[in-house]
């Protein structure tokens, strides 16, 4: 199959099925000498963990990470860092009754066609539980970035039709969108959301001019997250309606440093970071797993009804925040290292 590795220099390879023995990640290419603790990695995993409130999946797992290799006496060795999380609270039985039915919005049908069979328990490799491994890898990337001053933060800015307006208090927005999620959940339904990620203090020069533009690699990184259906950088689709004279970010000299007057571009021009904040947004579709009955077919082609029980987030966008941060951090860490060898 391939496709389980991300990055060119700072690379992660993830493995694991939702209801198999474990999820894991191997990070290859992290420079030696980076101080990192198990707690730093665990903290990121805890942010992603389900079962933390009633809006997310009630699956109860500690998701405790084990560092198998690559870190010695508190520092990275320059060798691959393998991180492992055992799967514990697996209720495979709840999938028995739908193992032959193709869940709408899910990869069941295409997996069967592509691979000839599949691990039907909880989505197997297609489960969003795979993102745990990304978050673990991203935690290491974040530590590397922090060392050079770069911070990556994400937040939810829209749920369904509830958008956070510019001067709205975060508490008010949260109250509003939680009500909306409660509402769709009560209907056995789900809803989508938009997540925005901002990276601050990114050095000028990250990204390669043609295919490996920083923007293109961020797009790939983020669209590879389950349920993502759209990606924007800076003003995104809105820039279409503006004339160039308004959309271009003018350059100015502030105390000897060249800075942009505005940041319509979202921190990247010609595929290369320009020193402004990198601002990206992603659209996440409503969770595909809903208890509301839907029409579908089973693997013999019979048309049947399906109600997906399991334990699912009614709005995956909430838990996508640390995952999106991880993917942005991984992309930046990779390009940070690559850029070190761009000139003599």
């Amino acid at each position: 199959m391939s496709g389980n590795t991300f990055g060119k220099i700072f690379k992660i390879t993830t493995f694991g099925e939702s209801h198999g023995l474990a999820m894991g990640v191997v990070i290859d290419g992290c420079p030696a000498g980076l101080e990192i603790t198990k707690e730093q990695i665990q903290a990121e995993l805890d942010r992603r963990r389900p079962g933390q409130d009633k809006l997310t999946s009630p699956r109860q797992e500690k998701d405790e990470v084990e560092i198998l290799s690559g870190i010695f006496e508190g520092k990275t060795l320059g060798t691959p860092i393998a991180l492992l999380v055992r799967n514990e609270d697996v209720l495979s039985k709840s999938y028995e009754d739908i193992k032959d039915k193709y869940r709408p919005g899910h990869a069941d049908f295409v997996y069967d066609t592509k691979y000839g069979f599949r691990d039907y328990r909880g989505g197997g490799r297609a489960s969003a539980r795979e993102t745990l491994a990304r978050v673990a890898g991203g935690a290491v990337a974040k530590v590397l970035l922090k060392r050079v001053g770069v911070e990556v933060n994400g937040k939810l800015i829209q749920v369904g039709q509830i958008k956070r307006s510019e001067d709205q208090k975060i508490e008010d927005f949260e109250r509003e969108y939680k009500e909306e999620i409660e509402r769709v959940k009560a209907e056995g339904d789900s809803i989508g959301g938009v997540v925005e990620i901002v990276a601050k203090n990114v050095p000028i020069g990250l990204g390669s001019p043609v295919f490996d533009k920083l923007s293109a690699d961020l797009a790939k990184a983020l669209v590879s997250i389950p349920a993502v259906k759209g990606f924007e950088i800076g003003d995104g689709f809105a820039c279409v309606e503006k004339p160039g004279s308004e959309n271009n970010d003018s350059l100015q000299n502030i105390d000897g440093q060249i800075k942009m007057k505005t940041n319509h571009a979202g921190g990247i021009v010609g595929g290369i970071s320009n020193g402004e904040d990198i601002v990206v947004r992603i659209a996440l579709k409503p969770t595909s797993s809903i208890s509301k009955t839907q029409k579908t077919v089973d693997k013999d082609g019979n048309e049947v009804g399906i109600s997906v029980q399991g334990r699912h987030d009614p709005c995956v966008a909430i838990r996508a925040v640390p995952v999106a941060e991880a993917m942005v951090a991984l992309t930046l860490a990779d390009h940070y290292l690559l850029n070190k060898i761009s000139k003599l």
Copy 2:
């Protein structure tokens, strides 16, 4: 630098600066035995060529392709296919007066920071002329795809605020957006656009489950095109506002074949093609090069005014259509080959 190669199996590597001797592409990984003519490649290049009407750059170049290797007796050899196009109509002088000024919206400043210096003539490697090589490579991908029935077509669906409504005749839409472009051009300004690309008859099963999702690779492919600031698949950002019960595409059995009732997903679930049309859209910013005077700085940090003369398209989205098709075709060809070895 790296970053000039796209693809895993069906790979292209492009080279060339806008005002250097030539642009070119090496296609590696095309299977042997594919019948292809120079005319098929030239036809795609001609669609992208500037100077075809008054809305695009008046740069006059035949852009005639030369097949240097990889094709023998009308068929691909399985060896690298090198395609070359000489640069002819290069007016480097028009860049002399702005060589030390950083054009807003352009990569001038970040190139100087990243590489220490740059080829200032016409954007050098950052020029959209580089997309010529993508179109040449994409032409070969299209021939490969056509052989298995896949068709890739793009079209402009929005210019500035002019969106094509569903039942609008193409002529009426074209007239409207051309007026809009004439208007901004007369003001020495530019405008953005949205391009939609549809791939038909894509086999079920293309794409890899995790990082190399077909959607993620399409996102990277398309966001790597100059001026692209947004990417959507299927309903894209609009899916956020719908409940899962409406957004999920139900499966049905039509004469023994499993098909979706709707196509909100845009032909990809779980990162893998499901047999429906693949539908993606990209947002292109207004052309950065405008004759209207803008504020900027020069390389010594002096704040100066700049009016970018050269020969530029007031709306790059128009000529982006064949480029976007090429990138989609390259991505599909690559995954088509990869998928052949996904099961025993």
Copy 3:
């Protein structure tokens, strides 16, 4: 660091330090539907395991493999296969007294220079224990190859000056070389060896013409094994002394099948398999760890004596046999899959 992944399609990524928690391998790119058991993998690991007789390291480890992912209901899923072996019998204390001394023939000094520090316990990542992960990955490759009839077998053909002559019984050769090893061991010394690996029934056409020649990838695969200092294919260095008319393998038609009359080439011409047995040989240097006192320096640059105690094989070539088979199998499996998409 990078460099912990081998293969293009059928890829393995290994991790683990000798005295860390575990050694492991992630196999990505194995097609779905391959029947494989834990016993098949364990059997290969058992062949490599130390402590089996008095000629190999007395380190006592069961090296029991755990399949963490990628196999479901006895078949590969097409998802990454993660295999884990815990480190158990680690006597890190025996390394305390040499942690600051650079062992001659070892990577201690270059690791300190390259990475700034190192895991000094048992060689860390540079330990031959890393080859365990290769053997686990190679076991899966062997199962894939067996399904298409390919067999890979290695054997020791030389120890020190003891070469197996063509008509010598294997028992006689073994007795001779074991005496030789006993002799050097008694002296606190070590000795080198030559391993030959033969792959039978390899399909015609594996390998790519230029850099990724099957021979070149076998060379890389085998020279990457610790202690390997030489590689030959077919007649190897001996072919230098023969005229072309003797060295060329003539083609003949045997019952409608084109075969070679001889196999001086070792089964590969122009980098591509020709259907004959693939025959390669590697030279392994004498084990670097010897108890005999050697001169060296410590990390402060003081010239000191060193006697490496630990538990070491006096002739690493013996246990290199399954490792070399694994590397050949991995290379062949990768090229077997790649070749499936070489023509339409």
Copy 4:
């Protein structure tokens, strides 16, 4: 096909068939700011060029290189450097009579099986003329290496049974081996040779510990050269017969610098350069193309006689010297850049 790219950071992609329009190379990943002239590249090509004396192929080509991109005002831009050499003196007719016969020792038969057909003119892609592109790419690598003091030099040390003894004058050795080549040539036959390449002043730390050992990448680089059947580093196969106490290179402190007392390892331990000279050797088989009549089959399976006329070097090892230097230089340049990001 793939397989036409070499390197991870400093990468070359070559293209071209022997009797097609041109041979070429695209170098991606060379840092910006390297001063380089066309003359430096041409000088390396001239060393490889045939027709220089009566011992090499009489094919008369200027092999003049054209720099298509990537170099501006005498310095590398950080963008891909494309180098092109047109094929001129192509006598395709001389191949007409053997186009259906499989030349022993050549890839004709395996190409037909792998790809379904082939460019039969002069070996097509399998021709040693492809090495021209390697030499062009290697010339850039050499300039990069020279800037940091590294020098790469190769020489012929054996032709047939004629080995240069340690105290033999180079003139005497040359006279002897030229006589030998004249002798086999007169018989319509060919002979093999051994080339040794030495790299001086290589920094400590190049190479990655596991699969991408510097030794493994050198092995791949060199065995990928046409006709190479064996590879050795340092003492190579000879180290097998020595005890560890003799083969290990002791470390010593010379004026505050750690150096080895001997260099049996050939400058690499644990896959990483140790600061000593890197010494590698390759065995090249006798040229496969000989005028002496050989037995073979044609593509219909008929057993036929064949006399390969064309214009061929009776001993390819002579012209392999600059090619081997190029491959070593490319490998070192790649690892030199990679090593810059191995620690914080």
